[in-house]
Symmetry: C2
């Protein structure tokens, strides 16, 4: 069966997350049902690079799927977008992919962005896209703490209890904190992440930004290898998957 | 009565525009009702710098209002935001203003941004915030045409029939077109604008971007002083009021 790679954008607000759930509509289900309209007798299975949680957005999720018959990728994109109807999901690009391409297992890097709106007034234009933090954050202190987390570590302290990864050891390639006006943006890059890792890192960095923790406290939390030693999980709505890297870019 | 100046952000999607209408909820009504909760026996009248149309957004609208009694501006901001409830409006800043400050008549400059999402795939994350144009636009040609519109002109060709301005002559201080990836952003600045002027300018520049009009055609449309000589009105949802200038910044 011919394989396709899709670059997909979505607003996580209306979904239970990427992955199919009994509890509601997932991005996976919406995409699979839209694609299956092209091959009505054959169900479609979509595999994503990052299994984003409920409420988490994607600027550029990568998905692969196999179709029962070959379809022009431009037509595939147009048809899937048409059948997605009012769902806030859009296939930005669709290409034929080699049979060995796997959106999840072929990926060699993932990038996430976490946005904090750091001001007293609630968000209007950015509602649902940011974590609203009223207290003024010290982004320089947050960056100093972030620098201590970069590298290969046992991230047990930042790992959700439900995490299914075989090992808590991950190499965090980048964790940067920068202010753009009232927006504090955190960028995280790694080959792969543990469940809730970015949100747990952000929830901990926020404690530093508020002056409640020092960067040394963050290093101690990492060393403790105990989830209860680190800060709380930041809300899903501030998080977006922004890029997935492959040895050979399927969209190039 | 003490006067206050407010810096206000809103998503225009849920509103019939800034100004009160019989047909539905305006930003003005939502703000006035929220502010009046502070002085229940006295209605509040809010005056805005720019009377944005239905669907038009504001990053930084400026509003003034008078209250029956003096209230700490920080408390005013918090209380109005609280009473605005689920409406996508937020008072970002509130300050006491001199009695002679008038949000509309004291303004000496207004800036608008118009965003076009220029790609085949429909918007997911930017739905409701952009004009979706599928054909690839030539932003350099659009910029060349825009340069011919800058300056003091009779803008009758870009003026809505319902426009109440005394004169169609306006000085357009800036009209810039720039591409940021798939986003074509148009920035317009003037002391004041005619009704629908920015949207009519954008609708005309889009014809140039598509190669259907030349910059010279735009100059001819301007010279015609006839609305039917120019292009169509661009949709409201791509437009946002981004700044209002005063001789003395009330928020400084």
């Amino acid at each position: 069966m011919p394989r396709y790679a899709l670059l997909v954008e979505y607003d996580g607000a209306g979904f239970v997350g990427w992955q199919r759930q009994e509890t509601g509509l997932s991005v996976q289900q919406a995409l699979e049902e839209a694609a299956a309209r092209l091959t009505p007798r054959d169900p479609v299975v979509a595999v994503a690079a990052g299994r984003t949680d409920a409420g988490v957005h994607a600027d550029a999720q990568v998905v692969h799927l196999d179709l029962a018959r070959a379809i022009d990728p431009l037509r595939l994109r147009e048809a899937v977008n048409f059948h997605l109807g009012a769902h806030r999901v859009s296939v930005v690009t669709a290409v034929r992919a080699p049979a060995e391409f796997h959106a999840r297992f072929s990926a060699i890097g993932r990038a996430y962005r976490y946005d904090i709106l750091d001001r007293r007034a609630r968000p209007a234009l950015l509602a649902g896209r940011v974590w609203h933090v009223k207290r003024r954050l010290d982004e320089a202190a947050m960056q100093a703490a972030a620098a201590l987390l970069v590298g290969r570590h046992d991230f047990t302290s930042f790992r959700a209890a439900a995490c299914q990864a075989a090992s808590p050891v991950k190499a965090l390639d980048r964790l940067d904190v920068a202010r753009e006006g009232d927006l504090v943006r955190i960028v995280a890059e790694a080959r792969s992440f543990l469940h809730h890792q970015v949100r747990n890192l952000v929830g901990t960095l926020k404690l530093v930004g508020e002056g409640r923790w020092t960067p040394a406290d963050v290093a101690a939390a990492l060393a403790a290898r105990d989830r209860s030693a680190a800060g709380p999980t930041a809300p899903a709505e501030g998080l977006a998957l922004t890029a997935v890297r492959y040895a050979a870019d399927p969209f190039a």
